[in-house]
Amino acid sequence: MRFAFAGALLGWGLAWYFGRENPQAQQAVSVLLSIGLAILVGMMGLAGVMGTRALAAERAQLEAIEDLIELRRWPEAAMMVQAFLLRPARTAAARAQAMLYLAMVLVRYHRFEESVTVYDYILREVPLDPGMSHAVQLGRAMALLREDNLLDADRAISELRRGSRGIESAGLALVELYRDVKTGHPAEAVEIFEKQLPVMRRMLGHRLADAWGLAARAYDLLGREPEARQAYANATVLAPQVELSRRYPELSPLAEKFVATAAPAEVA
């Protein structure tokens, strides 16, 4: 487009130079240049419209991936992320978003090491706003815990705690709760759960089931069976027992010990 403009300007300059002595030639060149310029402006407009449409299509693709992840349609989400990342993205932000979705899909398929690599890449290469950075670091810390990389996970949690500067984070509370259950510190886990429950209730939605499940495990480890039973019942009201055990293998012993709340026939 720049070359076309430069060509038009050059043509206009030449027409002016040679047309000084021949008015008829000047007239003809002027008409041709006017038509050429009109076509050029039209092409610019067309290129703008096509560029905008391509951007909108890219955005729609990312929204579709997000919807698939939300709907837990993981195979389709994985295929779409792969298709998206195989082509160059139009914006860096779209590419970063797709990378984040890739990390989430990898976690779902229990490929924690690879997801940590993707999270590390995002944190290293992509400029993120504080909220987004916090979310990515939370995902990374959770993947490290699932990978049993407890030393790095603890370091990541400490960084998160320092970075949060006293601002309440339900995600951070959940990661800390999981760390304490995983490392055999049930008293600390119960303390975090009881202190942070109002915040988690406000922010986690149905992922609150994770917190109730982990709390049930902590109560169980402490030998507080009535509380453990109630917490497990609450967890399984919000999420199926199978899903909880898949997310946190540490909760599997509870399935044998306590009765999960069954979903009514109408929604089962």
């Binding site: 006017s34 919807d67 939605g205 109408e266």
Partner: protein, 271 residues
């Protein structure tokens, strides 16, 4: 505070002026190209064409500045910084825009702000003004405006207005988030007109959709489903849904401005 009625009038006037200006500039550009060869007028069309191009670019840049100014307002509204959002929207609405999309987007942001401030009448007025415009090619804006309109109408007790807005939403293919918002509105509407059976239709899908919603909507949606289930005698389902709602949010918060839910949470559901 930005007066809504005056703002709507000013935006309508600005849209007409911008439309006339666009038509004038495009006609001028066409005349520059065609006047010489077709009408035999001896003017230097190139200079005029470049002048028109420069004016177009200048006005486009000014329009972009106004649009960019208001672009942050939804995040400010979400963060509860209403005064800052109001100031930005006001500046964007007062600035000249050559393009309709920028002006209509700013008007939509004002509707969002009024909705967050719980000023339902003003929200409905802004939504009506927006929906009276041609909104094709503006992406999500018509759907988001209809959702705002339906919610504001429900809050004002205008059930016919809410029904009309929800009905119009069926013309569009909704995103997942929009479908979730529509589900909460439909359940709210159903509870007000006592349409318990339609509320409970496809309860499995509705419950799954509720699980994807942010906590307040997830809780309210399942509380409304619990109420419908109780009214229709599905006792175990009603108890299960109510328990979920109570775990997700404080019953007082769920039932704010919804007496029918407040009544439900006060009742003991024992056989």
């Amino acid at each position: 505070m930005v007066p809504v009625d005056a703002t709507i009038s000013r935006v309508r006037r600005d849209l007409i002026i911008a439309g006339l200006l666009r038509a004038g500039l495009l006609s001028g550009a066409l005349a520059c190209v065609l006047a010489g060869p077709m009408l035999g007028v001896h003017v230097d069309g190139m200079f005029l064409l470049m002048g028109i191009g420069a004016v177009w670019i200048l006005l486009s840049v000014r329009s972009m500045q106004g649009t960019r100014l208001a672009a942050d307002s939804p995040s400010l509204i979400a963060a509860g910084q209403y005064e800052q959002a109001e100031a930005r929207i006001d500046t964007a609405l007062r600035s000249f825009s050559l393009f309709r999309a920028g002006k209509l987007q700013s008007l939509h942001h004002l509707a969002l702000l009024r909705h967050a401030q719980r000023r339902w009448r003003e929200t409905a007025l802004l939504c009506q003004a927006l929906l009276a415009q041609k909104l094709g090619g503006l992406g999500r804006l018509p759907r988001a405006t209809l959702l705002l309109m339906a919610d504001s109408s429900l809050e004002m007790g205008d059930l016919a207005g809410a029904f009309a807005a929800m009905n119009r939403l069926y013309q569009y293919r909704l995103s997942l988030n929009e479908a979730q918002a529509l589900q909460v509105l439909q359940l709210d509407y159903g509870s007000r007109v006592g349409a318990w059976e339609p509320m409970l239709a496809n309860v499995g899908t509705k419950t799954q959709m509720s699980e994807l919603m942010p906590p307040p909507n997830a809780a309210r949606s399942q509380a409304l489903l619990a109420l419908a289930a109780w009214k229709l005698g599905h006792r175990p389902l009603a108890r299960w849904l109510r328990r979920r709602a109570e775990l997700l949010a404080n019953p007082q918060e769920i039932s704010a401005d919804r007496p029918v839910l407040a009544e439900m949470f006060h009742e003991q559901w024992d056989d």
